[in-house]
Amino acid sequence: MILLAWTAVKVGYALAFGLGLAGFLGWVERKQSAVAQDRIGANRAQIFGWRLIGLFHPIADGIKLITKEDFVPARALRPFHALAPALSLGCCLLCLAALPFGGTVEVFGRVWSLQPFESRVGLVYVLAFLALGVHGVVMAGYVSGSNYGLLGGLRGAAQMVAYEVCMAAILAAPMFLYGTLDLQEAVLAQGGYWGGWLPTWGVFRQPLAFVLYLVAGTAASKRIPFDLPEGEAEIVGYHVEYSGMKFGMFMISDFVENIVVCGLGATLFLGGWGIPFVSLAGAWGGLLMLASFAVKTCALLFLLMQVRWTLPRFRVDQLLDLGWKSVLPLALLNFLATVWGAWLWR
């Protein structure tokens, strides 16, 4: 009974983390771009004259999206038109469940795990649901009865499949070093120190894999510079026939996907919830774990957001070339080198 309640609490935290951060990211996206481009950014939404540097804009956006007309074009396949955004959002919300927001803490004489879904194959689970998310994109493009949507869906399929393959190949090397597919154990495996001061984080053990992961992760979550399925300047993309909250769900699932990718990156490369030289125990340790994980995820999100406002969009062929001809071979080479290196070292 207690276990069930605790699981519900953890799931609630994961959902709040994902959706809350997603809403916040909408604000970050506007303000960060504005500050980097010498502008002020959205600052008009106000409640009783309070503007709070535009923090009310996500709320205004939400109200707008919910109250907007939900238009379904005559040529769309109705049930699937409604299913696609749900599939998109559902898949990436499920990914959140396996992220280790914290380790295990002992409070009230019990051991509590802070990971909502403890699985021995957590990484495979996350990658699988990230990959399933592509169905929402393809379905949306296919059933909305619009050629632009279809183009977007096709691009999405080509791109996301390519980069899911890359993701798996890239993550093979660090997971080989950690010797597990369990995300919790992967965090524990990064708890050591080299020379007594440098934490054995994945980013120091596998720098190439980290860079490749950022590239593939951006592409798999279809963020700029790899936002070809959307490409609002040319085809508007797979959600061109969506309006109101259905469109909003696609937006949110984009952000949540981004959060999942960054959370996974923080877990596998930045030491997860661990804080170097701080031993975490008890209730305060648990809170520190949650905070540390959130800070690391946000740092990666900040970096990717800045990349988004720095680079122009790739062309389709360039994108696929980069994936199949550069990232994938490099990832496989990195894996081979890691395995041989580990064998020679032994």
């Binding site: 960060q32 500050v35 010498d38 720095t310």
Partner: protein
Amino acid sequence: MAMTVRPVSRPRRGLLEQSYLWEVARGLGVTFRHFFINLARHCLRLAGLRAEPGAVTIQYPDEPAVLGRRARTRHRLLRRPDGSPRCTACLLCETICPARCIRITAEESPDPAVEKRAKTFDIDLGMCVFCGHCVEACPVDAIHMDADQVELAAYSRGDMIWDMPALMRDTK
């Protein structure tokens, strides 16, 4: 005239540029620099300290728009020294207007020195593309686009049509 040829060499891309990562890092350097400098300026100003503004934004509806000296704005019909309109209803502006948004009807002028004058002179600002051709075409310099008014929105298409008294309202 002899043609001159200036060879433009394509920038050579070495391994560093081709690998893309270095260039991405440089781009990030630029945007990060702007981000942090602007952020610091915003914070300093919020704290009430003297600092350069972190943004160049003009808060337009709250602050007036800044128009260039040569900005083409709403049309204005000019007057003669005696106060009558300068326009001789020659229809050159109506003819040249690419948007066909000027409508003039002419009438006999009481002044024997002037052949005719405009009875009505309507400009449909909803169709005008603000090209300025009408100003260029006018032989007697009767029409200018310097009323410095850019807020011309109206609630109906009919209200976008400005007639002669309106166009002459702010000319002495």
